[in-house]
Symmetry: none
Subunit: 234 residues, 4 copies
DNA sequence: GATGAATGAGAGTTCATTCAT
DNA sequence: GATGAATGAACTCTCATTCAT
């Protein structure tokens, strides 16, 4: 195992921002492929053709690099077009929001997992930029729920956090299973199914099991009676 | 052949099984408090007043210890009384099953997390004892769902795996949030809410949303007729 | 990995000699199969159904056990019938001795290697019983050489140690190669070839290249002259 | 991420190649003095005033270091002047080659032993650089043997491998004995003796033994004839 | 006589981080 | 600005040996 020869002796001098960007890109790639567990600073350095020293010039800590990589990723995704309707049928709007969240997480599951399972546990998570970014992702779904509740279409007797946990629990659970190789899944179908269950679960009015049609019968009877009365009148 | 005439402290001699049990207990404690990431064999040894050598006498690998700790925990919990009804109102049964799963996970969330997030990703997870144990936990809930589907009370048009992901996604999400210190949660309330949403989401019959619009149509017709009659009167 | 159950709880009580013999047998087996490098006292204990403690009752040290195992093996082999002729053609006798040594080493190469490469390097090797035993093996060959030298059949101008190194060097070299899996070898052929080269190399008289036939020519000439003289006489 | 603000001693900074060279030198020294058995990376580090970490920076494994140490040594020795004649008396050429091999091995017997007894047993020995290097050493002797065989000076009825085993067996046996402290030996004398025996052993023409019996036959015939003449006389 | 639980020194290896150049 | 040599604490795992029972 002859010590590998130096590949480059003279470094490219890059403006700070560009270098930082390159490092972050590489870090993202490494995180994606290895997971945060196997994330090695040495591999990041190798990938972007720099030295570890340079990385530490810009990032005080491996963890900081990891965080910035996650943030930059969020930033990028959040900047993409998101066709958020604020009107239209609530089902449509909810589906759209859930679909977007699902595909968001699925696009970079390793990054997602790092944020959702590790960073979120960090005591100063709430002070991080990514905390706000993540809130925004959640908000895109929860604002629809809130709208539904305000319009009276959704019940208001359940704590928001629980609704959030159900929706995002389903989304993440599905993604982790996919990550583990337990078969692929269709974002479209999953989003549709989750939306469906949530809509039914949240809809106001008596549940179908309580026979909504009863209500209708009663109303019909009343109206029929009304009818007869009117008929009798003439 | 280094060890040659030294002074050694021979602490407590315990029968094998007892020692093994102590080690597993300590391992569980360490896992609970540090998580599998920061799980050190040295700490386990210290806690139960042995040497690391002793631990390695009984467990070929740190990971094996971790796995056995998890398995013994599952075993213990699964052995507890579980009042599984196979009859009675489906809502009641589902609530009970979900409640049990929630409290199961919540009792030792770090262990849970190790099993659900790390072990589950292991290629030979399916060959582990804990795989079967975990299946049993899931089965307690899913058998109720299956019963509901068979009785016609629950819809059968959704893939089981999705239903499972929604239920356990909600359960776990809630637990991780609690783990992160995002406030406590009431197992009773959570279980009730999850049950409620799932029941509504799964119930057969037209969704209440669809029913409502139907109803509205019919009422409109009736009212329209009424209208005409009244018009005719004048 | 459930800690394996105890197989036996109550030990067989054996007379000292029998126990020692059993241990030595097991040690020999382990040495043969694993080599001295991978020789584990635990494996020895397991093989003869005792505990390591018992082994240490009889052998102060792992190395002592190893040595006794080797000695017992030598003893056994040396006790076997060895048809050592002290008369007869020297070539025959040498072949026989070399053949015996070769098959001796080849029968248990791992043990051999331990003795020849490790023990022999030990400072107190000369005080060990096996030293004498090994001398005996070497002697069986070297006594033939000595006899050859005394009878004048072999040259005496080479140091004995060198002759020994040549003969046993060839024997061992061949055996190690075989051990490494570099093909098998025929003890018969090897012994024959080594014998042949050594005989030629050691034979007295002018070497064939130095024209032995010269001598014959001279004798022939002399006899011819004698002949003529006799003829002339008649 | 443990290392955080500590005082560290930064000894000497050396260019990679130089550091590698130093490590290899130290490794060679340790191997020479302790043998591969007692070869400790910690001792290597200490000797060249570095940390073990540095060693592992350049050598992925202790074994790799060992191998490279051996290779560098071989390389060094092979690079030295070797006055290989391709003509001249075969005895001279053989002596020279054997002498060179003997002194080669004797200069660093522990390294030799590592290569010849351990590395050679490694399954991927044939893919190592040192395999080729060692072949070259053997070739220097065996090419002379081959030349002798082609010229008809040496017999061709013995397998090459056997001849090789005899020559190198003798060489190595002698060296190990020396290693064990069984007295020194003169490379010159040993080479001469080995050469002598091998030359005699390999020379073509009837062996002196066979020649002798021939001669005896012829003399017997002559004497018989003489006898008859004498008888006739009387 | 026998057991087997217990030990502990230390081996090899990893990697985030530092800082002289 | 960039490098990459250097570090060392930490970690997992091994196994000959001891000795209470």
């Amino acid at each position: 195992m002859p010590p590998r020869a130096r590949t480059r002796s003279f470094a490219r001098r890059l403006p700070r921002d560009q270098r930082v960007a390159e490092i972050i890109q590489s870090a993202r790639a490494v995180l994606r492929e290895r997971g945060s567990e196997q994330f090695l600073t040495s591999e990041v350095a190798e990938r972007c053709g720099t030295s570890e020293g340079t990385i530490y010039k810009y990032f005080p800590t491996k963890r900081d690099l990891l965080i910035e990589a996650a943030e930059s990723w969020y930033e990028e995704l959040l900047a993409e077009d998101y066709p958020a309707r604020t009107s239209g049928p609530i089902r449509e709007r909810l589906y759209q929001a859930i679909w977007w969240s699902l595909s968001f997480i699925r696009r970079e599951p390793a990054l997602s997992r790092f944020v959702l399972m590790e960073l979120r546990a960090d005591p100063n998570y709430p002070t991080m930029r990514i905390y706000q970014q993540n809130r925004e992702v959640v908000e895109r779904v929860m604002s629809v729920v809130a709208a539904g509740q305000q319009s009276g279409a959704f019940r208001s007797d359940l704590p928001r956090s629980l609704i959030r946990d159900i929706i995002f629990g389903a989304i993440e659970h599905q993604t982790w299973a996919y990550l583990r190789g337990e078969g692929d899944f269709s974002v479209d179908n999953s989003a549709a199914a989750i939306t469906d269950i949530v809509i039914r679960g949240l809809s106001t009015g008596p549940s179908s099991e309580d026979l909504l049609s009863d209500t209708v019968k009663r109303l019909e009877n009343i109206v029929a009676a009304l009818h007869q009365q009117l008929d009798a009148k003439t």
